[in-house]
Symmetry: D2
Subunit: 355 residues, 4 copies
């Protein structure tokens, strides 16, 4: 950290900072100039981060220059991790396709959507049973019944599934059936949920908040890691900007940035960011090309009767193109499309290797 002193700061003010730092075992180096004095703090950040240096007399600004996270940082863990979801990997060497319905509405719709997903090459299914909705009057999901439908379809098709959990009380129920737990954008800083999801021991898909900085997103992953669960996959899903033509702005730069800071896989969600079906395929291409480790995408057999986010779902006619696009761009990126592993049999689902 760097402490910038005000131009009128006295020697006593500077000494007070230096003393406070050395009391917690850090080193403070003073750069004293004619107009300005800077104090560089070196040592274990967690000791200083909580210190209210801003409120010290003569202090103008305190600037953090090192990473505030440890467990998910690639400093401690330089090799990228592969997170296994059931028999399917998500990692730096493959491109993983996750697909399924936005919301589970009926068993038939779920079967149809998941068969579409499998045909397109998905190795992990997705589907929402518990839906966080902006309006209390909107369809809130089928809850446990939806979870059962998803579980049945998943086992019938032989593919693991990820589903969102929206409140700590549901974690146990969801974790008993799902192969991966999703924390949604609106819950990215629901810290109690992060802790309980972490403790459930299943892999976690952590969506970036609509307005979270990359640092805050990684700190949310650190919350999960702090419970001892390092099986976290980051998901960029678009950030809120002033542009009204797209629902959100997919921040593709966040993919290489997060990959350069952590050892976690990073995927993108092109459905919820663009908000329009015609943007989904271009954003999938951009996501794979920028280096994403996977894609999570909504598909729907009949979007014109969808109860949730119909406009952005891919339809049957798109499936061939989806499969082809993933193959083609994974190839351009020098990666293979992720495939289920025979070493990860159904019985072993839930095992995870962070290599």
């Amino acid at each position: 950290m760097v402490v910038v002193m005000r131009s009128g700061a006295t020697d006593t003010d500077v000494d007070k900072v230096v003393k406070a730092i050395s009391e917690v075992g850090g080193d403070a180096f003073v750069s004293r100039g004619k107009h300005q004095t800077i104090v560089g703090l070196v040592g274990d950040l967690t000791q200083f981060a909580e210190m209210p240096l801003h409120a010290f007399p003569g202090v103008e600004d305190v600037i953090r220059v090192s990473k505030p996270y440890k467990l998910v940082s690639n400093d401690a863990h330089p090799r990228p991790s592969t997170v296994w979801v059931g028999n399917s990997p998500i990692g730096r060497e493959t491109v993983t396709l996750i697909a399924g319905p936005c919301a589970v509405e009926t068993e038939q719709q779920t079967i149809d959507a998941c068969v579409m997903a499998k045909d397109a090459g998905a190795t992990i299914l997705r589907g929402g049973a518990y839906k966080p909705r902006t309006s209390p009057y909107a369809f809130q999901g089928l809850g446990e019944q939806g979870l059962d439908i998803l579980h049945g379809v998943s086992r019938d098709l032989g593919l693991p599934f990820v589903t969102e959990v929206v409140t700590p009380a549901d974690v146990e129920t969801v974790a008993a059936k799902a192969d991966m737990l999703q924390v949604g954008a609106r819950n990215m800083q629901n810290f109690q949920l992060l802790k309980e999801v972490g403790m459930a021991g299943k892999p976690v898909l952590l969506k970036r908040g609509l307005t979270a900085t990359i640092d805050e997103w990684i700190m949310a992953a650190e919350y999960i890691a702090h419970t001892g669960n390092l099986q976290v996959v980051l998901c960029e899903r678009g950030i809120r900007t002033y542009e009204p033509m797209t629902r959100n702005t997919l921040d593709v730069s966040a993919v290489p940035v997060a990959q350069s800071l952590t050892h976690l896989p990073v995927i993108i969600d092109p459905s919820h960011s663009g908000g329009k079906r015609e943007l989904v395929m271009p954003l999938i291409r951009a996501g794979i090309a920028v280096g994403a480790d996977g894609i999570i995408v909504d598909v729907h057999p009949r979007p014109e009767v969808a109860l949730c986010d119909g406009p952005q779902a891919l339809i049957k006619d798109d499936m061939l193109s989806l499969r082809d696009t993933v193959v083609r761009y994974a190839d351009a990126a020098g990666r293979s499309v992720a495939a289920p592993s025979i070493d990860h049999t159904v019985g072993a689902w839930g095992r995870s290797a962070t290599s």
Copy 2:
């Protein structure tokens, strides 16, 4: 709602929209031009809002033109509400000062801060026992012990208190002691928390999310109202923008806008938006002047040892100026400073009148 058809949309496409609307009991009026056709939907929005009209053939855009909320809307409830917190009102005719420590750290610090608050004219105390923190390594609050300290100080000083609840499981514990429950900015769309807080029957202070639109903020209030609890106070606390010099940008316009759409009181938080002590007083003045029904502000007896948000807390030297500022600007605004009511004795705390 308005459905805008694509320029190439056929009559069949238009008819399909009209038919779907009339099937749910709405009226669809077609404005057919040479280049463009628009369909105006009139009737009960809740019937159409969930309809995936975007996914209908020939539809280019669907635009909502009426309010998606009912219970908190001033359409249904034209007179502004007054929410009573213990013996203290928050409403359109007064300016209410809420003050106290950001976090409860020790009993002595809490007493000192709350005495400062009372001296400055506060009629409601604030303090954090459960703290949502970006880092898992940061001080997370004293929890139930902090709640007990707050409760004791509140009763000793004869002033009600508001405190944040961060997860549904804590609602019952907190509601048993606190006079008002706060939902923080990061939890504004934690829908399960909104529901449980609503059902606890206590007044609720609902902070605007860092990146929530005014519509989303009001919809979050509607979630609480939907449980039958209309004692909701909205709190603008700064939104996230690109400007790095302030922690957040206090959106003063949101105060008159929210007041023109709902019957709920709207207050501002100048401490968390500015993030710097020297901005607190100017923002208090701006907040009262723009028409806020109250102010919630951090005070700390010794900010240089604060465990949380020390840099932005007002200190003892500021209290006289705080009292004077509130009086002076309330006066300019033609309001009185809120005072505890003798009609709301301690025994009756928790009663609320929405007139």
Copy 3:
């Protein structure tokens, strides 16, 4: 400035930075820690600011910690300046009301609007002759004819006027008649315009760009000051955020922040930020309360036939309330409403004192 080295940076990397700094006469202090090394640069910033330190081997980040501007900084000029526009002051001790039509449409409309403005207490008139419009099909202003109308009305009413200049070629023409030149939000970084406006020798009203940081805004003022013209008034007019309910978000915090960094007066524009007539008065109150040195506001005798920005103009019925509001809040702020000075006769208009 602070140079943060990468964790793997070598001693040679660090030495290279130190050497480069000393070659330009600066001092570099090295804070060497176990995990991280920081180099504090002390000296004249203008020497380092242009140095591509980011591209040096082993450098992770370069952080600026001192102000990049000099002439408008309050470091060099601690006492706040008063800028005189004709016979009317704008400064820290008064509240100045600037009012008039958004655009000059006809002579009669301009007379009517300016009489309304004077009645409300305005001491400086405003009006647009050259309009920067988003659409080439929109009314672009009357140009020189509009300028003549404004000039005539200004002299008839005995009040100076400010008008926008949109391109360098028009500066001379506009400066020959106007008492103050306005640089609009879209031109805040039109650097050639800033230079020419500066050289015209008239006071300048510099609006903040829709998306300019406070630092960039002040740097734009420095461009003007660099021509030797220190008669610059900063104007906060709302920034672009994600919130759709208001045209822009008035950043009231920017007022005290800019006042704490520069010696320039800072005013606010409540008309263009809110974009709705009903928001104008609340934002005027907030602006004066937060400490603005003045207000610039649109008025129109018949907004329903306005050629530009009619919805946000105040109308005749608002004038009494406008006058009263300015007086009341200036009083609460301990300031007087600015009045024309007898010491600044018409003959002396254009003189300016930066005390």
Copy 4:
């Protein structure tokens, strides 16, 4: 357009809107519901767009539902245009690489950078002679001397070049030598510059403003088109968001959106958006994959001595990878890399075909 009436609007209010519209030759269709009335306006938008309907009594909101631009719209011109810069095309069937130094510093540096660019497969050179700089103390470019250097290098290498023009007075000088004129992000709404650049008759590269909506960006292109010059290429270069880790956020979604609304080519600038060398290659890949018609990129032979934007320039070691990346992703996109045309000899440079 759609006019939304307030809930209390009277029949007279509605009639007034209908009458005003029919007076200018439009049709107004009224959708009258129990709670709300909507008026759909059909006809030529340019007739209504300027009408101050917002200020009519009883009007709550006015919503534009059709495109405000004509000449650049793909409604009027369904086939995508190819813009020729000298002998090199930019269009929907190819991927064009534009490269060169950010700023022209010396002749040798310009030669070295442009040779690097040509080796990497660039068919158009770029370089800045006139630089818009945030600080008046920063290097402002070599001006006309830089233009001459660029022109010489361009002719020696047999490749056309694009360069920025920052003020109307320079347009003639720059247009006399450059093959394409660039309007920078900060000047996107410098309307006089747009007009003069349009009239110069050379192709124009129009960068999106840091905070411009896609609509505003296209309207700026319409300004140029309005002068009769349809040779406009749009360039997405990153928008300003709250994320501090990247200089700007490259909005890849803007590429397919702008391509779906206009007939103009759309390219991306990965250098100025990311602001870091390590982000340039991932963003190039994302840009081509999302469907951009070209890429404009900074290269520098010795970034550690660059006078401008050194940290983000690609270096010699990157050239092989740059060439390979463009080929590989153009191939995945089913496009060829743009090549100079023998039909467009040097003598014919400046000709352009919009097919």
